[in-house]
């Protein structure tokens, strides 16, 4: 009799568990796993998969520059500084350069700020060139591969083209000395001169503590349909309109300024972060450059990013399936933005919100200090690890030279 009752109880418990499981799924999952073209790699641990050697440069390349202007720690180009600090104390760092897979050169090229806080790129090519001359003369590893197993962080507007104006940046092209190195940059646009094959695109720096201090309970209902705060016309630099953002932001304004579904304006509200958490869609249009911290903010606050930038390459594009998470709108389709957004099926919208709610997605966009597993630092290392092992052609034969040390505008050749 007791056996029978035991089996009955077990059966009941089993049925209950099954029921609970099914019940959970039916109730509505909160998140969904994210896997990009490289697979389910967001939560990979880079420790043990690669070794990085950090060159010891004189402090005029990094510490002194930071001392001169500590604002560099808070602006959106601060990733170069935090990456250096992270690597110095990370377990992937090796002090033995013979066993290193990658070599890192800590030079802060985006820290020469105007009084307004915008970085001037005019000295950056010379600074970079001087740093490379230093490492190539003091260590043999640069000449061994001419930089093919070295990586550099260039978070400026157009990456290693070192200019804020797109036309001039295209004209300059990527610094010739960096031709073979891997570039870690925020700029990404397909078939663009300033995006090299094999570069790793990263998100711009956004202050993690500031964003986390503005979190509101997730039960607050999202009642804004489309949200955007920022410039539509850059009156100082492009008064006629049409240059700035290739006319896309101005088109957004002209078409939707009196549409009650679009909460768009140029104001700077103190509740900016809270408002994003109450919106369903957040516009991330291009500005003078296609990338912006708005993408990071939208992901952190669970607002579906509407990306209006033709051919843009978004951060960690091989690890994060951005087409499933955000909405891409061509610049020529901006006048139909309301039709496009309202015709997205609701299941798709709910799925995007579930993907955004995934904590590893949010973590991958941040540069917290101290570093946490799964954050942007680790994604960069994962990206570098995925490029290993180096191809044999990386190592040059004796006497072979590929780089032209005198290429580029004359002004760049001056010593720094």
């Amino acid at each position: 009799m007791s056996d029978l009752s035991k089996t009955l109880i077990l059966l009941l418990l089993f049925a209950l568990l099954l029921d609970l499981d099914a019940f959970e799924l039916r109730k509505g999952q909160k998140t969904e796993r994210i896997s990009g073209s490289a697979g389910d790699v967001l939560e990979d641990d880079p420790v043990g998969r690669l070794k990085v050697f950090v060159y010891e440069l004189p402090s005029k390349y990094n510490k002194k520059i930071l001392q001169k202007d500590p604002r560099c720690l808070n602006h959106m180009f601060a990733a170069e500084i935090y990456m250096h600090r992270f690597l110095l104390s990370s377990p992937v760092r090796t002090l033995n350069p013979e066993e290193a897979d990658w070599f890192y050169t800590p030079v802060y090229t985006t820290c020469d700020l105007t009084p307004n806080g915008l970085p001037l790129p005019f000295k950056s090519p010379r600074m970079m060139r001087s740093a490379i001359q230093l490492i190539s003369s003091n260590w043999p590893y640069w000449n061994r591969t001419e930089g093919a197993d070295h990586f550099f962080i260039v978070p400026h507007d157009f990456g290693a083209c070192f200019h804020y104006q797109e036309e001039k940046a295209i004209e300059r092209g990527i610094l010739p000395l960096l031709q073979r190195a891997t570039l870690v940059q925020t700029f990404g646009q397909k078939n663009h001169v300033c995006l090299k094959e094999g570069s790793i695109t990263v998100p711009p720096y956004a202050p993690p503590q500031k964003m986390q201090s503005h979190l509101i309970p997730p039960s607050v209902p999202r009642s804004i349909f489309v949200y955007f705060r920022g410039l539509f016309y850059d009156v100082g630099n492009d008064p006629e309109g049409g240059y700035y953002a290739r006319g896309a932001r101005a088109a957004v304004w002209e078409n939707f300024k009196d549409n009650p579904l679009f909460d768009i304006s140029t104001e700077h509200p103190t509740t900016y972060y809270e408002d994003m958490q109450r919106a369903v869609f957040c516009l991330c249009p291009l500005g003078w450059a296609p990338w912006s911290p708005r993408l990071v903010e939208a992901v952190i606050f669970g607002c579906i990013p509407v990306i209006i930038a033709d051919d843009i390459v978004l951060p960690f594009a091989d690890a994060i399936p951005w087409e499933d998470i955000g909405v891409y709108v061509d610049e020529k389709d901006v006048p139909n933005l309301d039709t496009i957004l309202t015709s997205i099926p609701t299941e798709v919208i709910l799925r995007k919100q579930r993907l955004l709610a995934n904590p590893s997605m949010k973590q991958a966009m941040l540069f917290p200090h101290p570093a946490q597993p799964g954050d942007a630092f680790h994604q960069i290392l994962n990206g570098l690890a995925r490029k290993l092992p180096h191809d044999k052609s990386v190592y040059l034969r004796k006497g072979e030279k590929v780089l032209n040390w005198t290429a580029g505008p004359l002004a760049d050749l001056k010593p720094w």
């Binding site: 109730k27 509505g28 909160k30 797109e166 036309e167 295209i170 004209e171 646009q189 397909k190 078939n191 663009h192 001169v193 995006l195 309970p217 997730p218 039960s219 209902p221 999202r222 009642s223 349909f225 006629e240 309109g241 049409g242 240059y243 290739r246 006319g247 101005a250 088109a251 002209e254 078409n255 939707f256 009196d258 549409n259 009650p260 579904l261 369903v280 033709d310 051919d311 610049e331 020529k332 901006v334 006048p335 139909n336 309301d338 039709t339 957004l341 309202t342 015709s343 997205i344 609701t346 919208i349 709910l350 919100q353």
Partner: protein, 487 residues
Amino acid sequence: MKSPVAIFWAIFHCLCCLISLVLGFRFSRLIFFLLFSNSSINIYTTQFAASDISRTLAFTTSITTSFRTNSPPLLNKTDAGKGSRVVVGRHGIRIRPWPHPDPVEVMKAHRIIETVQSEQRVQYGVKNARALIVVTPTYVRTFQALHLTGLMHTLMNLPYEVVWIVVEAGGVTNETAVLLERSREKSKVRIKHIGFEKNMSILWSDRHKMEAEMRLQALRVVRDEKLDGIVMFADDSNLHSLELFDEVQNVDWIGAVPVGILVHSTRSDDDAFEVPKGLDATDGTKSPFPVQGPVCNLSDELTGWHTFNSIGYEQKSANYIGDMAIVLPRKLEWCGFVMNSRLVWEESEFRPEWIKDLDMVVGGDEVENPLSFVEDGSMVEPLGGCGKKVMLWWHRAEARADSKFPSGWVVDPQLEVTVAAKRTPWSDVPSELESNTEKVITSMIQETGRKTRAKSRTSRSRLDERTHDLRNTYASVMLGSGETTMN
């Protein structure tokens, strides 16, 4: 002495600037392109400038460019790189021909927002929501329709099951019933319309007492019918935020929410809000309006109450309903408390000992607020962020007790004659509107004058009486229609 060439160039420069201003773009580049078109291909081998000029050719007037404009073939295509379809340079600003919202799309967007919000509620909202039992005392008066409709719409918008007990002073009337009927077709609010046999008095103090009795009557109904849920006391003129109803789901037995008191003054020379000086002196934050509710210490335990301090208001408080003076609330209002309905059930086994039975409470003195239900005041649960989040506003606005209004606010049958008033109580009508309405008024008077002369004597006197009454109550209506016809 400047050379004539320099003066010529200066004048030429000014002329060019003026022309550019008129045209709206820098035409100098265009001129250069046209003049040196053959050699331009050699000069502008770098990619960007040619596109710039060709673009200015295509989109000369930027803002009014139509969406359907096709771009002319570019002479030198500027790519950002090989094979890129993105072109650097000036682009046109695309505006569609009718840049206004489409109502069908607006509705689709609202449906999307609704789906998103219900999903949020499923994931983060209240699990196992309980029914709400809302108790509202009311009586037929001028502003009843206004207040009751507002409350009705709030309750109709809730995602919870609602049982609405409306207790009416003076017995169940048709007027209130018709009003409540309007909710039936649109929502599932269950309404229990109960009559209370005494008539409402015109003194505020008596009204407060009677409202308390009416609420206790409703609690008797809850007990008799064994209604299950959370009892809330919603007065018809109060303002409720929808978040309040989510917050009260957290109550176990009896809870308190903070109530913002909107004490208004109709006289313009007074401050709109007078901060009562008697508030907690240690409380550093002075709120701009009085708030009644629970106060907690740092570990979120109830330590006391913010009550309404009527010191400073005595001279100005209203005695009669409809007085042009401030209406003061009691120390703690009923609306700030919510109770589990099982509290009032007979022989509830699970009811804690510190709760008194309903009969005991009713038999005793006047019940000023639900704290009489508990023997130990510290067992009340503080809700609403421990008294910090105000989601409910107490407010009393009533017309004069002897003011007349048509039943159901419908005039049936239609009036034969309407005469606009020459003077209205509103003195701040802007002067241009006044002159317009003057014209309407005079024309109306001429018309009605003709009509009155045609009627007989007896009917004329009746007419005069009626128009005298109508003048007072319908002056605003005439003024309103006068304004609209002028537009």
